[in-house]
């Protein structure tokens, strides 16, 4: 996406800073010079809004994502019910991380019995600091199964198994993007517009993101 944008906007150069949304929001709050901020949930975007870096009316939802389970090939986990089986090593993102927050919310929806939730929580071996680390730990086989976004699972290719959650129970992650206040406002808005354009949306779709809702 960046290459195509730079191609059609020849005087703009894009640089990216990737990380957990909560970490990025904190650095924006501390004054890091960002022109555009994209967040994996509403809470972290609000941090940027409260910090004065982003105008609330410029915030747009640009994609959606869903959680899936990634499973290490040797493991016997076949469905989400297997999460409660003893001896299953579960890796999740910490609840401070958007992915972790969604994972906990999803777990609440899946557990109509308190004992299920308890058994699952007993199997958690680590609360990682970002969702990519969750994927890595499962890829390496340190964990048997992890809660990641569908897009993360897709990027891992064939080396791990993917187990879907029942779609009526799954939690949807809403991603927001906004230009930050500053001297690059025009270019920043141009990039945000590109992301929301059919071309940008197609690129996101190719990686497994779902389309944003048109409500906001």
């Amino acid at each position: 996406m960046a290459e195509r944008f730079e191609f059609s906007h020849t005087d703009t150069k894009l640089t990216f800073n990737f990380g957990g949304s909560q970490q990025l929001a904190q650095s924006i709050r501390a004054g890091a010079p960002a022109d555009v901020f994209a967040s994996a949930d509403e809470k972290q975007m609000k941090v940027a809004v409260d910090a004065g870096s982003v105008s609330e009316r410029n915030v747009r939802e640009f994609a959606q994502n869903q959680l899936v389970l990634v499973v290490y090939p040797g493991s016997k986990v076949k469905s989400f019910e297997d999460l409660a089986k003893p001896g299953v090593r579960i890796v999740m993102a910490a609840k401070e991380v958007p992915a972790g927050k969604y994972s906990f919310a999803l777990l609440d929806k899946l557990s109509d019995k308190a004992s299920f939730r308890q058994s699952v929580m007993k199997n958690v071996v680590s609360y990682e600091l970002d969702v990519r680390s969750v994927l890595r730990k499962v890829q390496l086989g340190e964990g048997d199964v992890g809660f990641v976004y569908r897009t993360d699972a897709k990027s891992a290719g064939r080396k791990i198994r993917v187990v879907d959650f029942p779609s009526d129970l799954n939690v949807t992650a809403h991603y927001y993007i906004a230009p930050c206040k500053g001297k690059n406002g025009v270019d920043a808005s141009a990039f945000v517009d590109y992301v929301l354009s059919p071309a940008g949306q197609a690129a996101l779709g190719a990686h497994g993101f779902m389309a944003h809702s048109h409500a906001k």
């Binding site: 909560q22 910490a94 991380v97 609360y127 680390s133 086989g141």
Partner: protein, 239 residues
Amino acid sequence: MPLALFLSFPLLALVSEARSFNLLHELSQPSAVQAVLLTLGTTVCSVLLCALFGTPLSFWLARTETRFARFLELLMELPIALPPAAAGVALLLAFGRHGHLGLNVSFTVFAVILAQVFVASPFFLKAATNAFRDQSREMFGVAETDGANEWERFWKLAVPIGWRSLMGGLAITWARAAGEFGATIIFAGNFPGRTETMPLAIYLGFERDLNQANALAIVLSGCAVVGLGLGKVLTSAAR
């Protein structure tokens, strides 16, 4: 002078922040208590392991003149320059479930201790090797003529004479182990009470509870000051 200011100013800023919240209240929160106790427990184990295995090794390194010994000494110093995250990855590849040894230690307290020993032991080895090197060769020569074997020379001469430098080295090692973050999160993961040490709790505290993060940061800085201060006092007393 500018460097001294640069190094001390952030520490002052950190401590002055303590006015805006109740330090003891923050530290008595269960998550803070867990992090502090875990850090204390694991670092004590790590330091003991460093002392147990590191002291004989540094005695041997100080006394042996072969190229192999020099090469080994260089290898032992490597973790100092190695980025902690790289150390974490290396530990996973060596000791992870699907690493070369197929051990089941990741995500356990033991993994925390291993990570700490890996990054902090070079500090002790350096201090101990230097201390042993400074000791008089004549003294050991006399002892050998008197019939003392290598172990007796080590345990009854070298260690008692050098104990201040050794303790000083352990103090610095302890401070380094307490502050370890990168290797811990990658090799041991993060789990409150099991692997969530103070540095990890501070990182998460940024989002979770800023006051608690500040409180823990002050405690950790205190550990660093105590460790390094003690180290300096003991090593200069040894001279």
